[in-house]
């Protein structure tokens, strides 16, 4: 079976992508990028962001809680320093962008009109920033507005990365579709709080976002709920550790699958997951993705 898959007119060599924020800009492992469908970059903002003070990560049963807070070099350094090097990557490149005002998203996608950028992921779901982030992601109106503003400034595929924190992602997914999105990513981290021994918030950002295997049942629920609710494809994300997890998300209706926290335990995880998924499909003699995608809702 052919492992490649199309989304918004782009061909991905595999449905497996490295998620935003857990593979930086892909340059440290550029040599294995050909094993992947693509990489989603760390979130980029207009200005450089320092992020939250340490500690930025805590463990929880079956996962982690992070409060990185969108530390990133900012648009100018990204364009001047990283983007030229990203040419080395032998997979699709999706740039994750985040704004603290709706107009910032539009400015970001416009100024990132570079041939090596294949698509954008609009991060309206970061739990670790004061402005924007989940505040946008929890409002269908804001999601639609941001998507529409970006749609006007770029022809490249727009993937809106949703949250399920205190909002039904099926609603915001419909809003993204109405705004002109080509796909939605389901989902970003879940709100979480970790306390230190003194009963005070442990993370430098006070609260954080939960990710990793413990998030998988909820993410799978959300993908299974969102996929039939919209006419555009779903990119799944949440707790994928291996090929079987990836297959589960495709079964639940996703077209692509991202690997996030698993890369912290093993930076080779995205490539490994892609290989394991291929083995999975071969072992089951699947003929094409339709044999797998959406099985949770199929009668036979």
């Amino acid at each position: 079976m052919k492992m490649s898959v199309r989304l918004a007119g782009l061909e991905f060599a595999s449905p497996v992508l490295a998620a935003s924020g857990t593979w930086e800009f892909g340059l440290r492992f550029a040599d294995v990028s050909n094993q992947l469908g693509g990489i989603v970059t760390k979130g980029i903002t207009l200005e450089p962001r320092a992020g939250n003070p340490p500690p930025r990560i805590a463990e929880c049963p079956g996962g982690i809680i992070n409060s990185v807070g969108l530390e990133n070099p900012g648009l100018a350094t990204f364009v001047g320093h990283f983007l030229p090097r990203i040419g080395r990557l032998r997979c699709r490149v999706i740039v994750n962008v985040a704004g603290s005002r709706p107009g910032e998203y539009a400015e970001l996608v416009e100024r990132l009109a570079h041939p090596r950028v294949d698509a954008f992921e609009l991060n309206v779901s970061c739990p670790n920033v004061r402005e924007g982030g989940t505040a946008f992601g929890a409002s269908p109106a804001a999601v639609e507005r941001i998507t529409r503003l970006c749609r006007r400034r770029t022809k490249k595929p727009l993937i809106v990365k949703l949250t399920a924190n205190f909002v039904d992602p099926a609603e915001t997914a419909r809003a993204a579709e109405a705004g002109g999105a080509d796909a939605v990513t389901v989902l970003n981290t879940l709100f979480g709080l970790a306390l230190g021994p003194e009963g005070r918030p442990f993370l430098g950002g006070r609260t954080g976002g939960v990710s990793g295997p413990c998030l998988k049942p909820f993410a799978l629920y959300c993908v299974d709920r969102v996929a039939p609710a919209i006419g555009i494809p779903v990119v799944a994300c949440g707790g994928v550790m291996n090929g079987a997890d990836a297959a589960d998300f495709l079964s639940a209706g996703a077209r692509l699958v991202q690997v996030g926290s698993a890369s912290l335990a093993d930076p080779q995880a995205p490539g490994r997951v892609a290989r394991e998924l291929a083995t999975f499909c071969r072992a089951r003699r699947l003929r094409d993705w339709d044999d797998l995608v959406g099985r949770t809702r199929r009668e036979n």
């Binding site: 492992f29 992020g51 930025r56 413990c214 550790m241």
Partner: protein, 251 residues
């Protein structure tokens, strides 16, 4: 950079809560440099998710040694390793510490922070004059004394309870030692308060510290490690360290 499972040749207890694990890892032993660390998988389910970073305590003749203190769940799991098991290791990670030639090197280690300095001492012993001040809470906790002596360094020892060597912290003996040396290059590892006090006391002597704060990936991709830099910003110490010039850190 791929994880490799190395056979465990031995596991010893150095003191009640500190263990030493010896790996059969010829390639790694040759490649790894002082200051670098290994990121070790503990447990084998999805929990705990993160690896545990450990500095290389020693490496020679195809063997790599790690010494660690049991402080929580991950290190407790690691302490259960048995000879013959395999340890899933990612590394070597981080930048090697500066490797001087023909200098006076002063190593200042506190507690489990003594561990990575042994490997540093071994590699700097030829071509430099290596001095060491090693401290711990008690005589029992003052690990690796014999190994340091075997390298020809005659470490000055201190204990908080006075059960061996100078009574009290390493700071004053370290300052005395530094004062006697020409342009000393100081490497230190130990608890944060010790590192802070040492830098202040030795000021303006440059002090290279082995940072053992919490990290996520160890490979520079998650932005979860952040050491405040004087004048703003962070040092991503997993990739730009873990050995950093402490004088530039705003702790």
């Amino acid at each position: 950079m791929r994880p490799v499972a190395y056979p465990v040749l031995a596991r010893r207890r150095l003191c009640p809560d500190v263990f030493l694990i010896e790996l059969d890892a010829p390639g790694l032993a040759q490649r790894v440099k002082p200051g670098q660390f290994l990121n070790i998988r503990v447990g084998d389910g999805p929990d705990p998710l993160l690896r545990r970073p450990l500095s290389v305590c020693d490496a020679d003749e195809g063997r790599v040694r790690l010494a660690f203190r049991v402080v929580g769940r991950g290190t407790a799991l690691l302490a259960r390793t048995r000879t013959g098991d395999r340890l899933d290791v990612l590394g070597p990670l981080g930048r090697p510490a500066p490797a001087p030639r023909n200098r006076n090197v002063l190593l200042v280690g506190g507690g489990i922070g003594i561990a990575p300095l042994l490997f540093t001492a071994r590699r700097l012993a030829t071509g430099n004059r290596v001095h060491a001040v090693l401290g711990a809470r008690t005589r029992e906790q003052l690990i690796l004394r014999r190994e340091f002596r075997a390298l020809g360094t005659k470490p000055i020892l201190t204990t908080d309870d006075g059960s061996l060597g100078f009574p009290g912290p390493v700071i004053e003996p370290a300052a005395d030692a530094a004062a006697k040396l020409d342009r000393p290059l100081v490497f230190t590892c130990g608890p944060k308060p010790m590192l802070r006090a040492l830098v202040r006391r030795l000021d303006p002597v440059p002090v290279w510290g082995f940072i053992e704060e919490r990290m996520g990936c160890g490979t520079g991709i998650c932005y979860c490690c952040a050491l405040p830099r004087k004048g703003g910003g962070w040092v991503r110490f997993c990739a730009d360290g873990p050995v950093v010039l402490l004088n530039e850190v705003a702790w």
